[in-house]
Symmetry: C2
Subunit: 669 residues, 2 copies
């Protein structure tokens, strides 16, 4: 049967190939409508180019299925996509004979240099010509053009392929585990990425100097180039490792740490990279305090601005879906959700901020607020839609990376730089994880063990974001060398480190097979009694800040923006009663009543006493847990996206007030 | 509440507007990274342009919801989208002050004329410049450029926006009603559209000659231009009217006729238009027999080639989904389905065929075969995905049409031509519907009444396809006049005729509130006894051909390509037994057993005697109906996509053989 399946996949490829050949044969045939001929031919060529990618993706999907079906884990789907891309790149590079296109007119001139567009006056009619870029290989225009066509606009990555990936990361974030480890995640993402950026950049600069000293390097590398490399290569990829983690159900805290870090550090890396490239390049190698402060200021403005836009659009979507009865028409609701989420990205880009960061926070806000207001059908639809978009975009990027190794025409391979870069990123990652973990462990009750630290070190794969940042600008030779190095590092980390994840997990004795939804409460299907280990593991290290935010969110933001939560009439002071009544949705009152005699309660808040009844835990239902004064404690179920139905099961309004009376620092379960 | 909702919608628009203004203000501020400045600015401008459309779509969605909520029917969502587009067009045209962009270098030269690209040699480095088009307004480059940006590439319509619309039309086709009226639909689509094209073209040419005679026209209109106009304007739009029909549940046969015709005539119109524009333009006004035959030959080749590609990809997807266990992973399955369906379009375009036609037949094939093999989740996913894409693409096109009236810069308004075109399309439509209906009624038992004919005449709205064909090429003045005329005709038909659909239906006494799934079998929820009228209404006019195809499909194709249908072992001759056993899926045997004692049977086949038990009909379940010799007759449930669960309830294998024994021409129910 396996043979049959593979032959199916191959036959599809052959079929596409034959059609493509047929298509290029058709192009040499007489094409009617002589005036439109060139346009039609280029249109057909575009279609054929896109087909190459679709064929690659189809092949990848079929092979992924085969691997999943047979439970192969030594290589991940992204690694596969890259391998197929590599093959296709080889074929395109060495196997393609392209008929030269329409002759181009050659002008000799000394005026135009980097001018964006030319106006040509032909007997009174003006034609506009736009700069396409520099032409390298003048004598073989056919092939280089064909390759250039397949190597398409890096803007596409940023505007079309990355946003759904990042949005989905935010939208599908397991927020309970994320928020529990928020402090550490922020530390790794902000401090760690910055540290990693500068360490990597400096070490890399050392190797660059070494290479120049031994004469192996001709390109001019400024220190800012090296820092830029440090920034882009510090963006770790959440895709590959976490897919394996998800499949193996690795420990939830490790998962939350790695996922949170890799999602947020994309944002930081992007902002860092743009700040560094904005650091006035005329003054390089001389230290300019003002420029550094401008750079830091820019970093902060861009980050907070993008965050604000993302959160604002998310909140607006929540308001619109709450106060209109849009949920009667799931199609309209889904379309609105999709459009508003996408507009976040464009809005941020139009304001010269970072769309990726905005879209990440938009995803988190949408999941936290808007998701509660959607109809059941729209909940499914939005999740599935973005899951699909994410899947397609991801595999597309990885197969494109494979392709780029052969079709990109300005590679600069320099062994010293490549090896230096590899050492630099390992060192940079080490300087991120180990010292930070040490400092975090000083304050964390739930220590990050050495096995976790080693795993985090090992799981620092580089992927789509690093690649997209590197390909964005490949004008100077230094940038071309950086692009080549980044591409090779992505290959190395995805294949070697991605492939080694499963052996590494067992070697480090990290437990797998954990049910992420049930485990931390100690009443998963296989009953586990609460142990002191289990309790300390779930310690929320940023307890105070987190709790203040949680109360504010639960008492005011959630009731305001969603149908869930306690009614505002019970949380706002008396004087605001009319306003509160106007803003509270009827469902909120129902929820309150329903919840007051609801038996299924999940617990995260501070509780004085925890009573777990083994019977209820053993039969799979969640146990009723009482706080010291007999009130049901806070659940963080409201923070959790997965599990759909549990969403409206919000907690009792007065439960939140309890937190303030509960003694701080007690056990958190 | 309504006030609140509208204010919400408006506040979103204002918000977007402010941000856009802020964005353009930010653009005038100092942008760091001087080298990338121009690229960054153009990137931000692109984002802002796209935002305009997203804001428009969002506003449209909110208003659509409001209208649906309040059950307004005097204007349809597409009409609304156009109105918003118009407003935005006015603002962009008269309200936008654009800072002029980077200065362009002006060259005087006599060599370059229509050359696609220029090579410029600047001291040894070669830069390539690509033709952007002719510049009209040299002295106000800022505004014209900004408008040009919003007026984007017509290729986008063809490659990105139309395919999902057409695919969805094929995928969601109610095949039972479609196949029952196949003969008439094909007649209207093939003959009718061709007749309409030539009548409209000729009448239009008459008006053009008239306009030139009275001196109201300066442009050169060839007869081929007029025929081209006839072709593009013959593509009626399935969107607007059918959305209303669907909502009001209009008579299923009228629905099937109109839907089938408007979907297929898009394909015919596109093929006609490309054949006409390929008709060697050097010999116009002289009749060239060879060129006409080449044109007809081309038409047939393109149509059949596109059909073949569409069907082939559909069948391939069916085979892949049948013989792999991909349905264990709905995400992979959906992704594969999406990619293969999209690749149909590209494949056809790469082969110089018509992607739209291919994608339409691909949609029909996917719904007929592949859909049966998908997992339950993928069935939902694919339907919802394409529904969303269709919705977004449709509204985008209609709001873009509104925008184009003001932002397109080469409009040629000529009152005589516009009024002439309106009369021409009415006459062309009349020559399509009335004579054809007369001839069809000669052979149909279930006559197409005059009220249906009037409704079909009235429902000939023009929409996305006509617009996309017209905008594709606007180089000559005749083409520009045709574009303007088409745009205005779309406005007129969508607003006036689309808005008048509901009154027209009641004026023509066409029954509404029909349940499309239950009605023809006479056992809908509200019990209707079978009447002679009901029986003649469901007469399948192309009985013999249809039945032959149906038997072949049911006995061989369905079992080969899907899990449904009778096992091949029972339909193929004995000698093929090993092959049949290999190709039959295990589910087919199960289906067979399950169906032999299954009570829920739907009926379409030829049956000698029909027994309807009023009890079973009244309680809503489908009734058991027996043929003369006591065997359950053929159901056409297998041809039906909607109703999901009913799919696997395929009929008994031996039932099909019965048809051959059943007397031909008996009643069909």
């Amino acid at each position: 049967m396996a043979l049959f399946e593979v032959s199916l996949a191959l036959s599809y490829l052959v079929f596409t190939w034959i059609t493509l050949t047929g298509a290029s044969a058709a192009q040499t045939m007489k094409v009617p409508g002589a005036g439109e001929q060139a346009a039609e031919q280029s249109h057909r060529q575009d279609s054929a180019d896109l087909l190459v990618f679709i064929a690659l993706l189809t092949l990848t999907i079929l092979t992924i299925w085969l691997f999943k079906h047979r439970r192969f884990r030594f290589i991940h789907e992204t690694g596969l996509a890259m391998i197929y891309g590599l093959f296709m790149g080889v074929i395109l590079r060495y196997g393609l004979t392209q008929t030269p296109t329409a002759p181009r007119v050659l002008y000799n001139c000394s005026l135009v240099n980097g001018s964006e567009s030319l106006l040509v006056n032909v007997s009174g009619r003006y034609f506009e010509y736009k700069l396409q870029g520099e032409v390298e290989n003048l004598h073989d225009p056919g092939r280089s053009e064909a390759l250039q066509k397949v190597t398409f606009d890096p803007e596409v990555f940023f505007n079309i392929l990355l946003p759904p990936i990042i949005f989905y990361a935010g939208y599908s974030l397991k927020r309970r585990h994320f928020f529990r480890n928020l402090g550490s995640i922020l530390a790794y993402a902000f401090l760690g990425t910055t540290v990693s950026c500068f360490v990597t950049g400096s070490v890399f600069y050392g190797f660059v100097c070494l290479a120049r000293a031994v004469g192996a390097l001709k390109e001019i590398f400024h220190f800012t180039d090296c820092l830029f490399f440090g920034a882009i290569i510090s963006a770790t990829d959440p895709v590959t490792v976490l897919a394996i983690f998800n499949e193996l159900r690795v420990d939830v805290d490790l998962y939350a740490l790695l996922f949170g870090e890799s999602v947020l550090n994309d944002a930081i890396a992007i902002t860092l990279a743009s700040s560094i490239s904005a650091y006035s390049p005329s003054m390089q190698n001389t230290f300019d305090t003002a420029a550094v402060f401008i750079c830091i200021g820019r970093f902060l403005v861009v980050l907070s601005g993008s965050f604000a836009i993302g959160a604002a659009t998310g909140i607006m979507t929540a308001v619109v879906t709450k106060f209109t009865r849009l949920h009667e028409f799931p199609l309209l609701e889904t379309a609105l959700f999709f459009l508003l989420s996408w507009s976040t990205f464009l809005l941020a880009e139009a304001c010269a901020l970072t769309g990726i960061v905005a879209v990440l926070f938009c995803g988190i806000t949408q999941a936290h607020y808007t998701y509660n207001n959607l109809s059941a059908e729209s909940k499914e639809r939005t999740k599935q839609l973005f899951e699909l978009l994410n899947f397609l975009a991801e595999n597309f990027i990885f197969s494109y990376m494979g392709l780029a190794l052969f079709t990109f025409q300005k590679h600069i391979f320099n062994p010293i730089i490549i090896i230096g870069a590899l050492l630099a990123i390992l060192l940079g990652r080490a300087c991120n994880i180990y010292p930070l973990s040490f400092f975090l462990n000083l304050r964390r009750r739930n220590k990050i063990g050495f096995n976790f630290q080693h795993m985090m070190m090992f799981a620092g794969l580089r992927g789509a974001v690093a690649f997209a940042l590197a390909i964005r600008d490949t004008e100077t030779e230094a940038q071309q060398a950086i692009f080549t190095t980044t591409l090779l590092l992505v290959f190395f980390t995805v294949w070697v480190m991605g492939g080694g994840t499963t052996p590494m997990l067992s070697w480090l004795h990290i437990r797998v097979g954990v049910d992420p939804d049930q485990d931390p409460l100690g009443h998963s299907d296989t009953f586990q009694p609460l142990q002191s280990d289990g309790i300390s593991r779930t310690k929320n290290e940023s307890a105070w800040l987190f709790r203040m935010w949680y109360i504010f969110d639960h008492n005011y933001l959630k009731p305001l923006l969603t149908h869930a939560g306690p009614p505002l009439t019970s949380t706002l002071p008396r004087c605001c009663e009319p306003l509160a009544r106007c803003l509270t949705s009827p469902q909120a009152y129902e929820n309150q009543e329903q919840l007051q005699d609801d038996d299924s309660m999940l617990v995260l808040g501070d509780a004085d006493v925890i009573l777990t009844t083994p019977e209820s835990a053993a039969n799979g239902s969640s146990s009723r847990i009482m706080t010291g004064n007999g009130q049901p404690p806070i659940s963080d179920e409201g923070l959790e996206m997965d599990g759909g139905a549990g969403h409206d099961a919000e907690l009792v309004g007065r439960g939140t007030r309890l937190v303030l009376h509960a003694s701080d620092g007690e056990q958190l379960t």
